[in-house]
């Protein structure tokens, strides 16, 4: 990074924002991992923890927003400093959404408790969430290193999660057709899978924001997408 500001307080303010984002990111990772474990193991206590963790995420996003606005009013930032602060606002927003999605999954634990989650589907869900967690973890690392290259490569990997989600979608439809008693729990699991796919999207958003913070540009080319589920028609036997 370049030399420090003459105003030491300015550097402190920017560092504080960075630190809070990193803390939010850590909590987001934990919530995603916990929510999937709660689903797979029907763990109501763990689900409750995720739900209450979301309150912390919401408060953190508001606090980062307030601090960013005050820093803008005080310092009239330009160039890299301005991108830094705007980037922090966007990333806080994406992380808060990740928290919400984790909470949404945790809330469904009760609904699925009666029937539980079939082994095969559980594995699929775990695999999907592992991919999303890797995206999230790596993008939070790039937030500290600010490598434009790495940010771009993370962003280009979003299609892996989409492909995994598409195949899980197909499986859930099959389960539902096999036995109508599965429909309720499979519908919940479908929402959960969609939520995890959205978490992957938010991680990709963060990667694009970091690329912008580092270079001042958007990454080239369309973001690769592989979610084909919108084109699925009725499946006949």
């Amino acid at each position: 990074m370049s030399a420090s500001h003459i105003y030491t307080a300015y550097d402190e303010e920017l560092k504080y924002l960075m630190r809070r984002i990193t803390e939010m990111g850590g909590l987001a990772e934990q919530m995603v991992a916990d929510s999937v474990r709660a689903l797979v193991n029907s763990d109501a206590a763990l689900a409750q923890k995720v739900i209450s963790d979301d309150v912390i995420m919401d408060a953190a996003e508001r606090e980062i927003g307030d601090k960013a606005i005050i820093t803008i009013a005080r310092r009239q930032p330009v160039a890299a400093d301005l991108r830094e602060i705007i980037g922090a606002l966007r990333i806080a927003n994406d992380l808060e959404r990740v928290g919400d999605l984790g909470k949404s999954n945790a809330k469904r634990v009760m609904a699925i408790q009666a029937t539980g989650v079939p082994r095969k589907l559980a594995r699929g869900l775990e695999h999907l969430s592992e991919l999303a967690l890797i995206q999230l973890k790596e993008v939070l690392d790039v937030y500290t290193t600010r490598s434009a290259e790495k940010a771009k490569s993370i962003r280009d990997r979003d299609e892996e999660i989409d492909a995994m989600y598409t195949s899980l979608f197909r499986e859930l439809l099959t389960y539902m057709m096999e036995d109508p008693r599965n429909i309720t729990s499979c519908t919940h699991l479908l929402f959960c899978a969609k939520n995890i796919e959205r978490i992957g999207d938010h991680a990709t958003n963060i990667a694009e924001t970091i690329y912008y913070m580092a270079t001042g540009d958007q990454p080239e080319g369309e973001r690769p997408k592989d979610d084909l589920t919108s084109s699925f028609g009725a499946i006949t036997e």
Partner: protein
Amino acid sequence: MNVLSDAAVEKALEQKMTEVDYKMIGQDVSVYYGEKRALFDVNLNVRKNTVTALIGPSGCGKSTFLRCLNRMNDTIASCRVTGKITLDGMDIYDPSIDVVELRARVGMVFQKPNPFPKSIYENIAYGPRIHGLARSKADLDQIVEGSLQKAGLWNEVKDRLQESGTGLSGGQQQRLCIARAVAVSPEVILMDEPCSALDPIATAKVEELIHELRANFTIVIVTHSMQQAARVSQRTAMFHLGLLVEENDTDKMFTNPDDQRTQDYIMGRFG
């Protein structure tokens, strides 16, 4: 007034804080230049160890108010000040007050750097010597070094203390003037647009210095740059046509001021 209203509670809290937090208090301060009235019943409290910025358009009375705080207005023949101004609870216009001593306790730094046409050493030593603050040459040396350290100038001038103060760059001269003000151990430092004549880097250094000085001094700064007020102060007071329009926490002032006139001014929406 409803005793339980928010305004009543706030006023009670403010009054409770009077003894502890306020270094200087201005009550119903009005200033007249001959027949012309420049300030209208200004009530403004200056908090201890805080930077208070006075902002407002040209001619609004901010510099006039600043000059009341160390009775510099006394030097203007046609100027008349009414109301009450206290320093640590003591009326500064009380007949028993020694104005020279007051101006050592409430120092001033001006817009245009004005070092004495003496050596750097002498610039700093002059005040303490006159006020009898040093018993020996060693004491004086210590005061000079300490003041230059506090002003962030020591490393740049320690090997040329005998050179003329006027030979320094603009930014260095202003920091020399700040060191000179600091040398007589004031409690309050008044600054009248101290960075107007300086380039951006010199300005940044002076502002960083103001930030550091706050720990040991109370500072009031007049500035026509709102951005400077936002950067450097914790409290901001906005003046307009001789009236105090709003006095507030700086962060609040620049994100969500209470008064519409303040909002218009800082946003640059005039007329």
